[in-house]
């Protein structure tokens, strides 16, 4: 099955970012595909290269990057939500790209299931 993922919450603040990641890992392990992960609302902070958690904690941003590299997943950050929160191209982590909400709708059209993670 081909999944689209929507992450609506920031990392570290809320479980949703972790759960979305764990869902992706589990789905991929079962042989499913992740069409795209779309980051919206405070979810855009998942893509900040300025993120520096303490060394004994998980690195949520790097985790996404690794997952994208290993499974060629499209990581898309909403431009409007990003701008509102100061997330622009120059502080975007590798493998993420900035685009519009149309990418979310397209993911809903292309994927067999669109799964929303948020409050």
């Amino acid at each position: 099955m081909k999944f689209g993922i929507l992450v609506n919450e920031g990392p570290y603040q809320h479980q949703a970012a972790d759960t979305a990641y764990q869902f992706c890992k589990a789905a991929l392990a079962k042989g499913h595909r992740i069409h795209r992960v779309f980051f919206y609302h405070d979810g855009v902070h998942n893509a900040s290269k300025l993120t520096e958690p303490p060394q004994d904690d998980r690195h949520i941003v790097n985790r996404w990057i690794k997952l994208a590299e290993e499974h060629d997943i499209d990581l898309v950050v909403c431009v409007a939500a990003g701008l509102r929160r100061g997330l622009v191209e120059e502080n975007l982590a590798p493998r993420f790209r900035i685009s519009g909400l149309g990418q979310l709708i397209e993911s809903g059209i292309q994927a067999d299931r669109l799964v929303v993670f948020g409050d």
Binding site: L6, N8, Y40, H41, A80, A81, G100, L101, G102, L104, I105, E106, G108, I109, L114, V116, G118, D119
Partner: protein
């Protein structure tokens, strides 16, 4: 988009102000209108307040975006559903809402949700 029309339902569950979910959900809906999909909006829980008439946000210095709901018709988004139980629990009636809606019971909404291809919840 290649002729494939899916049924998209946007579920609005939160009050219009206090968090950004309602405003950013509306932004998604406006973009979605350009994709020629079958779009419907549902308002449940505190989400019913998004449609309340007479919103005035001057005191909290936040943009009052409620007039946008009236513009949805211009985007061919005409299927708006409000859960009856949520309205009643908040002492509201259909007359308190700023746009025409269809009021459905939670059971009827459940059935409608089952018919959707994509349900986005905000």
């Amino acid at each position: 988009m290649g002729g494939k029309v899916k049924r998209f339902m946007y579920v609005n569950r939160k009050a219009p102000y206090g968090t950004i979910y309602a405003l950013e959900a509306l932004e998604v809906v406006l973009i979605a209108a350009a994709f020629d999909q079958d779009v419907s909006l549902v308002f449940v829980d505190d989400g019913v307040y998004q449609l309340k008439k007479g919103q005035n946000t001057k005191g909290i210095d936040v943009k009052n975006f409620s007039p946008t709901y009236r513009a949805l018709e211009g985007y061919d988004i005409e299927k708006l559903y409000v859960e009856r139980e949520s309205l009643e629990a908040r002492g509201l009636t259909e007359e308190d809402l700023l746009v025409p809606v269809e009021v459905l019971s939670s059971e009827e909404l459940r059935e409608l949700m089952e018919q959707q291809d994509v349900v986005l919840s905000f």
